[in-house]
Symmetry: C2
Subunit: 188 residues, 2 copies
């Protein structure tokens, strides 16, 4: 699979990739173990600091790695990674090393111990900042502390992402259109 040359990206603009609601791959590591999970339930919760909330099922192996390490990386896969996205969703750690199983390349992150996935279009390094909603809602609140995004060009400015509808059906992201001139500046 192809990897991307990436550059650092402003944290206040990461909504460009996350707010449209794509399926993401969450990577984590703790004391020699590592894992990846597929995730579709997430939302932006702030620009500055860049806050991100997501639902992590307590039966998932990643749940304990993330809770213990208080870190993860949110990786944004594109449509060409559909086999890995489904395969990761079908697998349950810790028996399987999902990096090897699905030919994904772990790269060192800059601010967390969880690995970046090289084949993903973007990687968002996260620090868990609030654990108080985990017990009741399986809701983790992260601060995104570093963003790496594919350099464009050569990568497209907007990636083609998958958006899950349940029942095995994905919506594939279409083209992007700017209505910038129609917005009041304060609402952009």
């Amino acid at each position: 699979m192809k990897t991307y040359r990436k550059k650092s990206f402003p944290l206040t603009k990461i909504r460009r990739f996350l707010e449209p609601g794509p399926v993401v791959l969450v990577s984590s590591a703790y004391k020699g173990e590592r894992d990846i999970m597929t995730m579709g339930w997430h939302m932006m919760l702030g620009f500055d600091p860049a806050l991100f909330g997501c639902f992590i099922w307590d039966q998932n192996h990643s749940f304990s790695l993330i809770r213990k390490s208080k870190q993860c990386v949110i990786n944004l896969p594109t449509y060409d990674l559909v086999n890995a996205i489904i395969g990761v969703g079908n697998s349950h750690g810790p028996r399987v090393d999902k990096f090897k199983q699905f030919a994904l390349t772990p790269l060192p992150a800059s601010k967390v111990h969880a690995p970046l996935i090289a084949e993903c279009y973007a990687n968002f390094e996260c620090r868990l900042i609030d654990t108080s909603l985990i017990a009741k809602y399986s809701l983790f609140i992260f601060e995104v502390i570093k963003a790496h995004v594919a350099a464009s060009p050569p990568a497209p400015r907007y990636p083609t992402t998958l958006h899950y509808r349940g029942d095995g059906v994905f919506m594939i992201s279409g083209h992007s259109v700017s209505y910038r001139r129609r917005f009041k500046r304060v609402n952009l």
Copy 2:
């Protein structure tokens, strides 16, 4: 604008429309006042009960109507409503009646006092069940208690929705593909 003939839809399957991350219109009413807001920060938080979390900025007029009435309707607009989506986002209540201003038709809901928007592809009636995260995160947790979805046919099975990227740019949803046979049944 066209309206849809709708039918009741199972609450456990509303992720089909919300999980892909579309921009939605939130309608609310309290003591003779009503409002609509445009919203892009939201996520599913459960199937049964059907839980839905969303970020509502405290400067928005809808914030107080929803907090006081403890109800709202999440309406799913399609691309043809882009003018209303942007117009609602640009307006600030309570000075403007956004239904009149943007030619949207309020219809009575079945379980809440907030109105449904007839021109939207789907309407989800919601009851506010947790106010404890509003002060810290502007995060409202709703239970969806009734869903109305456009009858298909004649409406398309999957609507063409807008997904906001910031800076005035929307991603327009593309086609949907089923990978159902590739999923483990338990993960569908």
